[in-house]
Subunit: 87 residues, 2 copies
């Protein structure tokens, strides 16, 4: 995936997952430094409605709007961020 | 949750998610430093078979064996680990 393109697409994600990929809300996961392939897999699972429970309904809706290219780019972007938030 | 009790329960988790909570296998998520409440939510979703796709079948099986106390303790343990692996 293209991390720069992912960054451009990530503005809506930041509302819950943080500008630096660290969620401000404890029921949401941090994404910074997460494994790229796992992020692709998780986003596709939400898109395919294979995840429910917790906050999954929100992510089903968000992921439904993403193309496979968007998913690859977002995964590359979040994987590229430092897991500790750059502290 | 009780992070020390979680650590004692986490030996089986480490096979995929790493001794330090950083997965060695790119299709698995890192858990170190993840939000505790999110980890509880995710483990319960696996236990309740609310997640499929990707590697979810493995986690459905693992989570089925966990009590709510185990889940709380494991979540506390992984949330307590440094997100960067302590580097």
């Amino acid at each position: 995936g293209d991390a720069e393109a992912g960054k451009a697409k990530a503005a809506v994600c930041a509302a819950c997952h943080g500008q630096n990929g660290l969620a401000q809300i404890p029921t949401y996961p941090n994404l910074a430094g997460q494994n790229e392939q796992y992020l692709v897999s998780a986003l596709k699972a939400y898109k395919n409605k294979q995840r429910s429970g917790g906050q999954a309904a929100i992510m089903q809706g968000q992921a439904a709007a993403l193309s496979d290219t968007d998913i690859a780019n977002l995964a590359a972007y979040y994987a590229s961020l430092p897991a500790d938030g750059g502290k």
